[in-house]
Symmetry: C2
């Protein structure tokens, strides 16, 4: 292994000078800098990460705790993870992947051992036991998702309440009077995850404000369950013409079922999905949707973490505003 001492010898300087060339913490003459950089190239030098962490008390690693299985849509999780990793690299940091099932022990371990300089938590529950532990460690922390009590925390999430409202607004603007929310599975509402409940609250509040009749049905997302949910909704309220779909898995079955029943989208029935743009674009017809800004959430989480690492201790809750894109699945309500 090539050490800083060898680079120093090759460049004819002391090892501290090499260190300063690398860290830019002291001024270095142009001449010396060139010699050192040449030596680094020549020898293929890479500073030893452990030695650096020991001496500087920074590992340049951000821990990311990802759900193994969760209510979140897997591609969204993946996109967030990739965005975090990419953004972290732009700050010269690496990402350590932890699974949520490591729980509080995992949090203690990585911050206690100095393995990570900061921790980003995904799939945060309303009353998440990792949060107090994380605050106890005093290390920079960012949550993707909202717990019940956000006091003193830094969080990033889509504003799901506003999202529910935006979907209703869009359908109301198009003249729909009866709308339905095809939600996540019952288990998601029972479990202590906030996003489904927040979407529902926004959906219902806005529907009331706009004077629409609103129905909400949880849905597992399988073909059969979607068929059941759709049948129930149309039976109870046959005049329903606008659907908001939160469960990504229910989208394909829903489209298929509507086609089979002879309903044409968007002429007879309008659909607004809450899903990644990619999903909306590969459906047929392409879906009007509020996108899940996975990349933005991941990148912002890292930025917040970096701000904390640089001494910014303000907590903040960053709710990204919903962005609704009109595509081919929504249109004016049919005139009765």
């Amino acid at each position: 292994m090539v050490t800083i001492a060898e680079v120093a010898r090759q460049a004819g300087v002391s090892s501290s000078t090499v260190s300063y060339v690398l860290s830019r913490k002291r001024s270095i003459s142009e001449d010396t800098r060139r010699k050192v950089e040449a030596a680094i190239q020549d020898l293929g030098y890479h500073p030893h990460a452990g030695a650096r962490a020991l001496a500087s008390n920074r590992s340049d690693i951000i821990a990311l705790m990802v759900p193994l299985r969760s209510d979140m849509f897997v591609p969204v999780i993946m996109e967030i993870a990739m965005a975090v990793t990419t953004q972290a690299r732009e700050f010269g940091k690496d990402v350590l992947l932890l699974t949520k099932d490591e729980g509080t022990g995992g949090v203690r371990r990585v911050s206690g051992s100095g393995l990570a300089d900061a921790v980003i938590l995904m799939d945060v529950e309303l009353d998440d036991d990792r949060v107090p532990v994380l605050q106890g460690t005093g290390s920079p922390a960012v949550l993707i998702g909202l717990p019940a009590d956000t006091a003193g925390l830094t969080c990033v999430d889509l504003d799901f309440d506003a999202t529910g409202g935006a979907c209703v607004d869009h359908l109301a603007d198009l003249g729909h009077r009866d709308v339905a929310l095809i939600g996540e599975s019952e288990a998601v509402y029972r479990r202590h995850t906030g996003f489904a409940a927040r979407t529902l609250a926004g959906f219902q509040r806005r529907a009331a404000e706009r004077g629409l009749r609103a129905v909400h049905r949880p849905c597992e997302g399988t073909y059969e369950s979607t068929a059941g949910v759709l049948a129930r909704i149309l039976e109870e309220r046959p005049t329903t013409t606008g659907f908001v779909v939160q469960n990504e898995a229910a989208i394909a079955p829903l489209l298929s079922l509507l086609r089979l029943s002879g309903r044409v989208v968007p002429e007879d029935t309008s659909i607004v999905a809450i899903c990644p743009d990619q999903v909306a674009l590969q459906s047929s017809p392409r879906l009007t949707s509020v996108s899940i800004p996975a990349e933005e959430m991941g990148r912002n989480a890292v930025r917040q973490a970096m701000a904390q690492l640089q001494g910014d201790r303000r907590s903040s809750v960053m709710l990204l505003p919903p962005r609704l894109t009109v595509r081919e699945s929504s249109g004016a309500a049919p005139t009765a």
Copy 2:
């Protein structure tokens, strides 16, 4: 931060003794062990990862290089990544997440800096420039996927050639005489990824051996492209009754299209998918499928990496045998 010295003082022993308690590399009396463990508990001691890496020359970190965007199905990538992480933790290792777009530089960086003890590469291309670099570093390496030349490498993958064959066998056994492979998008075949080509080769060879007529069509996986592909196949060879689907995204559109066209699965048409079990199970009807053993691949990759870390320098190519599960999407060919 709590150091080993503080633990030692609290336990009334030397710090080397604490170290040996932790590493079990020398025998320690029961009495001393208890005192040390109590002190560790009391103080909430976590060894400093950097210091440990520096002194022992092992970081206890495995780097995992994941594709940002690729031909692979995202949930499969995710499942592999999670399996790698879980299995790594069972060996006391952590996982560092790298993106494929860091390329050879990323490989050099993590192994050159001693950040990772081993590297696992996903989404390996036939002629992958990361591979020679990785071999050059001399650090333990495992590939998930097969490059063209596997000499001296350790690889783990599903045996896609046998998979193509197994799908044909299943359909042939059921009496189908005309089969079609709905493959990945053209781009996948053009790009230098092996799994699609290997599946196709196995499919065609076995079809020839069994005397079936076989058609292969690439497919983008969108509703429109699937519709086009299906129409083309049925036009060219209307007697086609067996479909093998490799592109996960094409599954839902295909089922929907067949339903619309009045064909009943499996009475009129049989489908065998190559996809994760989860996808096969949530379709309607549930699909006969060869599963993508994502978890097994991830776990085995880690095991191979650990074997190499423990000095096993044999290279090996581990091709997991396809496992075909019969469900409701395949049945006897209709009698003409």
